[in-house]
């Protein structure tokens, strides 16, 4: 393709690229974590509050050891609010599973939080902090039951008010025993009419005020960063993050590296979800990123751009872009590209995926569908083509694997690691000295379940995750082998 054609195309694409606003970890606000608290292995599920201030539901499953007591406490992830902890809450032991503990915690402000979990038991005391984002996502409409209770009371109050005002200027001022003079009766009638008018006016103004309050609240509802993608004439993707206006603490000049990259960009070809590009655009200006596109088929791609703020707040910006066939070099550095072998039907019961290097990835689970809102450890095994377990798995950006979860209609997107859904940068802030994000960055290697030398990892990798709602999902499971990054593509139905 000549440069001129490319430039014209790029211009056209810039105009048609639509920014689609959705929230961080799109449609999948709950947090899942698997890791260790001291000598205890835990699986934690936190359902983030939908209103702020609001309640987060904490579920801690202690996978080994015998806990006596589990305590949970919420703190901000960074800043002065991370210094003093409120009184811890004792989590309640589940009647069904004695290893599971649950608690509810209030989160009073929007932003990045952490839940500090302390376990006491036969293996001593263990502690771990799990990052959670409190982002208001909705308001409720008036419940019919509440309305049915309030409406008659409201009518009683209005007519009661009218009657009392009437009595107060009429009967009440007459001497005891004295008949009510016609003048007073007349005055009472006028007073009742005026009182009714006043009541209507008060109701009208209250309704206006209610609207204003609701509007003020709507302004607190999370608005994700906007993303403007554009293909330039060199075949590079140019990205611009823009703040559509939300709470003041969100800025664009505070992005911190997550696995060594300031942005993780996932481009998935729609509607088939048959091609995934996992790229790492570099920031050249505040909110301005670019990256060379690797070889990729033409089509419309949904872009999910993951970034992490210095406060520990992760965000996912979303946009669509239509690309011509890209004929560049294969992916470089940590970038990767995965395409589904042509004409593979969507099959939620297919539990194996052939890798491009001849290996096979197997999803170790029962056939059939999974359940929504249920924490799972999604487990995958990599074998050589001849069936022997793979012995050459390497850390991919410091992780044994990366899972990308997409609902078929793209309303859910989650980027999950073996320790869970929180980005590594937020995890580092939660586990380190939270008042100093740089110190936290330094300490993360101590707490992350990853080897420091590139020696071979076990052939299985697991991801703690719960699907937010029913539907058909596609999973891209990425691992790194001696042959390069390999991606297993799986489908699953969730009830």
């Amino acid at each position: 393709m000549t440069r001129r054609v490319l430039r014209a195309l790029a211009l056209l694409l810039f105009v048609t690229a639509a920014a689609v606003p959705l929230s961080a970890h799109v449609g999948s606000p709950d947090v899942f974590f698997e890791g260790t608290a001291g000598s205890y292995r835990v699986l934690v599920a936190i359902s983030a509050p939908a209103v702020v201030p609001g309640v987060a539901a904490i579920n801690v499953r202690v996978l080994d050891g015998s806990p006596h007591e589990v305590q949970v406490v919420p703190l901000k992830l960074t800043g002065p609010g991370a210094q003093f902890a409120p009184v811890s809450d004792r989590a309640a032991r589940s009647d069904v599973d004695p290893q599971t503990y649950t608690a509810n915690l209030w989160m009073m402000e929007s932003g990045a939080w952490q839940v500090r979990i302390t376990i006491d038991g036969d293996r001593g005391t263990g502690q771990v902090s799990v990052p959670v984002d409190a982002l208001a996502s909705r308001t409720l409409a008036m419940d019919r039951g509440v309305a049915l209770v309030l409406l008659p009371i409201g009518l009683f109050l209005v007519f009661g008010f009218v009657a009392i005002v009437g009595a107060s200027v009429g009967q009440a001022q007459a001497d005891p025993g004295q008949a009510i003079a016609p003048a007073r009766v007349r005055r009472a009638r006028i007073a009742r009419i005026v009182a009714f008018g006043v009541a209507l006016l008060v109701l009208f103004l209250s309704n206006k005020w209610w609207d204003l309050e609701a509007q003020a609240y709507d302004e607190k509802i999370y608005k994700p960063l906007a993303l403007q993608p554009q293909l330039d004439e060199r075949g590079w993707l140019q990205l611009r993050l823009q703040d559509p206006g939300w709470l003041k603490f969100r800025v664009l000049d505070d992005l911190v590296p997550d696995h060594g990259h300031e942005m993780h960009l996932f481009a998935v070809r729609t509607p088939a979800l048959d091609t995934l590009l996992h790229l790492h655009p570099q920031q050249h200006a505040n909110g301005g990123f670019s990256r060379m596109l690797p070889k990729a088929p033409a089509g419309t791609y949904r872009l999910f751009a993951d970034v992490v703020h210095a406060t520990g707040l992760p965000e996912t910006a979303v946009a669509d872009i239509t690309l011509p066939a890209i004929d560049n070099n294969p992916p470089v550095d940590d970038d990767s590209e995965a395409s589904e072998p042509a004409a593979t039907p969507v099959d939620p019961n297919r539990l194996t995926a052939t890798l491009t290097d001849g290996g096979v990835m197997t999803w170790e689970r029962e056939r059939g569908s999974l359940k929504a809102k249920q924490p799972y450890l999604l487990k995958f095994r990599v074998d050589e083509g001849n069936g022997t377990p793979a012995r050459d798995l390497l850390p991919y950006m410091g992780m044994p694997g990366h899972a990308i979860v997409l609902r078929r209609d793209l309303s859910v997107f989650a980027h999950v690691h073996p320790f869970g859904t929180a980005p590594m940068a937020s995890m580092a802030l939660a586990s380190g000295d939270a008042s100093d994000p740089h110190a936290a960055q330094m300490s993360m290697s101590m707490t992350m379940p990853m080897p420091t030398a590139p020696e071979a990892l076990p052939p299985t990798v697991s991801f703690p995750y719960g699907f937010p709602r029913e539907g058909d999902y596609r999973l891209f499971i990425q691992v790194k082998r001696a042959s390069g990054v390999q991606t297993g593509i799986f489908d699953v139905h969730v009830d």
């Binding site: 509050p49 209103v51 702020v52 201030p53 609001g54 406490v73 919420p74 703190l75 901000k76 002065p80 609010g81 991370a82 210094q83 003093f84 902890a85 409120p86 009184v87 809450d89 209030w106 989160m107 009073m108 402000e109 939080w113 208001a136 308001t139 409720l140 409409a141 008036m142 419940d143 509440v146 209770v149 309030l150 009371i153 409201g154 009683f156 109050l157 009661g160 008010f161 009657a163 009392i164 009595a167 107060s168 200027v169 009429g170 009967q171 009440a172 001022q173 007459a174 001497d175 005891p176 025993g177 004295q178 209250s206 005020w209 209610w210 309050e213 609701a214 609240y217």
Partner: protein, 397 residues
Amino acid sequence: MSSLAVPEALPAERTRAATSATAAAAVPWYVWTALFGVFSGVVGAHWDISWHRSIGRDAFWTAPHIAIYLKGVLAGITFGYLILSTTFARRDATDVVTIWGLKGPLGAFIGAWGGVMMLASGPFDNWWHDAYGLDVKILSPPHVMLLFGAHAVTFGTIALVMGLRGRGNAQQRQALLLPLFLLGGFTLVEFMILEMEYIRLTLMHSAEFYRAVAMSVPGILAMYWIMSGHRWACTRVAGIYTAFLLLMQWGLPLFPAEPKLGPVYQHLTHFVPNGFPLLLIVPAIAMDLVLRATNAASRNRWLVAAIVGPLFVIVFFLAQWPFASFLMSPLARNAIFGSHYFSYFTVPTSYGATYRFYAVEPSTMEFWRVMAMALVIAPISARLGLGIGQWLVRIKR
């Protein structure tokens, strides 16, 4: 109520001691129960606000909530009893009003209406928290509904007392002064709670603060002056307000409390009180003197209001402005003045925590514009207070 009221008149030769004993008896039991409800309400409200500032986490069955709802319960029992007993046991009573076939003193109807309002705010507030999150402010629509209902219960109690005074003899009128002044002090406390977001220490060098105070206090004081006919009514009412707030200011920090909500920005171990009382007593004294001098009860009420309104603002400004400077100084950071108490959620860099005044008005011009508004609003408030007071004086049932 004749069955509950005292004998028509007392022989003049009775001793002073006997008089005071009978005077106590001249106040029927239901005035005391209703008054205790009002007291419980203001204690509960201050305690609850302190709870939110110190512990944070809320539940329905907290002690301060019980104190607040006790007001509704006592109102329900007292006013409900008055209405039902009159309707069914004294069908021929003539010292009552009839509403929807029910008979009872006007104050009982107002108070019962307020009780219903208080109760109705409960489910509304619950829904509000589900929809918009826990409100960290006082003035949300369901809270205003609760406060309005609570005010109506107080107002009903005032009307009840005024009805008794309206048809009582001199002795009874005298005996009912104490409940009336207590009600006055609690009314001031209630209004100051309503305006709490506008009258905090950091705003005391802004005109908005003076405007907020000018809106309610001159009216309340004038109302009680007219209602009681007492030469020191304003002073007494402001004195009860001051005593009550000092009790809260010095009492609350004696009880342990620690935050159960994050983020926690201030380390604290005891309940934080809600601030030193405003120096309302100073302009109250001035109002008493001027109201007496102008012979307010018999004069043109607009004229009287036009004098005492601005007088209130000016005297209050002269007293509170320097006192606010003192409260911001290190000298006030002790158990007496309590400027060192902060909510657990007070950010360390905030105006309050760094002892700085926040200027609401961006310019001097704007400051004086709002101040001028305060000078206009105060007489309107005073006139309203005189009017409502005069109307309550005329209540006989």
